[in-house]
């Protein structure tokens, strides 16, 4: 099975406090530590496991800039066979639809049976996979937490509300968005990254992909971010202050009053 996995480079929220810049039009990006979107690691792991079982290859692709190459290398250190960096000044300011349009260019240049994305990325939109599927006229299933490969089709479980699982049969080629917990992504050490450090990663631009420049980038974006602001805290929590002993004493009073201690 030929599998393409879409990955996004995102600020790592466990390593950073997200701050808004002084103009209020972006977050402070200067000192951010970046990593692969959490969901995408699960997608890559799943792809590797499928190929281990049924054969084929895993290609990882990202739309980004030069720095995005590092996330491709990380996923190749996990075991993805090939990387593809889609980069072009014309891509900048694309909205979700623009990103999906660019990825469609990469899908059409290959011969993939299965395309995977993460269920969502740092912006919580959960949009790219479903858009790409509809553009390709491929069937789509989101929030997938189980895949069983069959002949020309897959059996997939979708996570739905309450921890229940919706089982579906889906024809290949298809697009799946992967939910966390589907597997346990393998650990990647420095050694693994070093091994793939010199592997050539092709870079493709709008021309190479045959993407219509009018359909991507800032001018084509129908959805535009205007500004960033801090969420309204409302009343917010009463912050307990003082020494740890004082804080714990106050907390215990509250717990007693609210029935939190037995």
């Amino acid at each position: 099975m030929e599998i393409l996995v879409c990955v996004k480079r995102v600020p790592d929220t466990s390593e950073n406090e997200i701050e808004i810049n002084s103009d209020g039009n972006d977050i402070e990006r200067d000192d951010l530590v970046y990593s692969v979107n959490e969901w995408d690691n699960y997608a890559v792991e799943e792809a590797i496991q499928i190929v281990d079982k049924v054969g084929g290859s895993v290609t990882v692709v990202t739309v980004g800039d030069d720095e995005s190459e590092e996330v491709l290398r990380r996923e190749m250190a996990m075991g993805a066979n090939n990387g593809l960096l889609l980069t072009d000044d014309a891509f900048e300011g694309s909205d979700g639809k623009g990103i999906a349009t660019i990825l469609k260019g990469a899908v059409e240049k290959g011969n993939y049976d299965l395309i995977m994305t993460g269920a969502q990325a740092d912006e919580g939109a959960a949009q790219v996979g479903g858009m790409l599927a509809a553009m390709m006229d491929y069937p789509y299933a989101s929030l997938v937490n189980l895949i069983e490969a069959g002949d020309g089709k897959l059996k997939v479980g979708r996570e739905i509300e309450g921890g229940n699982q919706e089982m579906n049969e889906i024809e290949l080629p298809c697009v799946l968005s992967i939910q966390t917990g589907i597997n346990e992504p393998r650990y990647v050490g420095i050694r693994g990254i070093r091994k793939v450090a010199s592997v050539e990663i092709p870079e493709l631009g709008a021309g190479d992909l045959g993407v219509d420049a009018a359909a991507i980038g800032e001018d084509a974006a129908k959805v535009k971010r205007v500004d960033y602001f801090m969420p309204d805290m409302g009343e917010g929590a009463e912050m307990l202050e003082g020494s740890t002993e004082e804080i714990i004493a106050k907390l215990i009073e509250y717990l007693k009053a609210k029935g939190g201690l037995k």
Partner: protein, 321 residues
Amino acid sequence: MAEIFAYIKHADGVADDSALELFVAAKKIAADATVTAVVTGSGADMDKICTEMAAVYNAVWKIDNAALAYPNAEVVRKALVNTLPADSIVLLPHDTFGMDLGPGLSIKMDSSFAADIVGIEGTDGGALKVIRQEFSGQVSTHVTCDIAAGAVLNIRPGVFQYDDSKAGGDVADKSGDAGDLSVKRTFLEVVEAEAGDVDITKSEVLVSVGRGIEDEDNVEIVFDLAEAMGADVSCSRPIVDAKWMEKSRQVGTSGQTVKPKVYMAMGISGSFQHMGGIKGNPFIVAVNKNTKAPIFQVADVGIEADILEFIPELQEAIEGL
């Protein structure tokens, strides 16, 4: 202004909470908008849901077809594309169904898509201004969405609480317009979640732990604290994904819905999918080392601390009582 349609989610003859929340959201786009509820499905439940929606919405479109008996998003998408006017504004809940349907629907309707909307500030010309959140609610953004050629808008559940407002209208049967509904994804069955050894939905006091616990070896201190308090232990999703606890302890939209008196959120950021599983307005205590964590917006009492240090100290103090 384009027509606004709200997709009504329902199961077993009961409309989802989002069904009426979308009416409230639609009226925020334009107070005088004509808002039509779209009810898809099959069989006896349809009329009951349609009648309920007709009491609130300006109109109801009913699409009854055996292929729609289970809401397979691929089938629903075809039904909507075949029935709705080209430049419609379509509202969906941003849940596991809306995520499945919305993005592809916007492509097939050739309209814009905005996801997980938490605020609507109205229109300016052909643009709708909405509020979204990024980085699990750490920052908010104003986003404009070009709605001139229609839009699909996924609305966060629970944000636009139903306020008893009503328009009222008639039910129109659009089943004949549904057209070809053949798709390449077939629904098989729903597998129910397994029960675990504790039932956290019945717990009065929960010590709930999130990714802030950092390592599997640290999970023990949470159980020790809970034991000292006479509480049960629950967790956020990453703890289950890492297989440090069983799924039956997960609080949230894809886990359990709990109704405790007291909820102690330890190293949990407060994502909407997590908070969506906490009902009954408990007293929430949040302990987090980041004062900007969104959990502090919804907690009653907040403590800025490292849980790895704080939890054992609290346990000791409680045991000393």
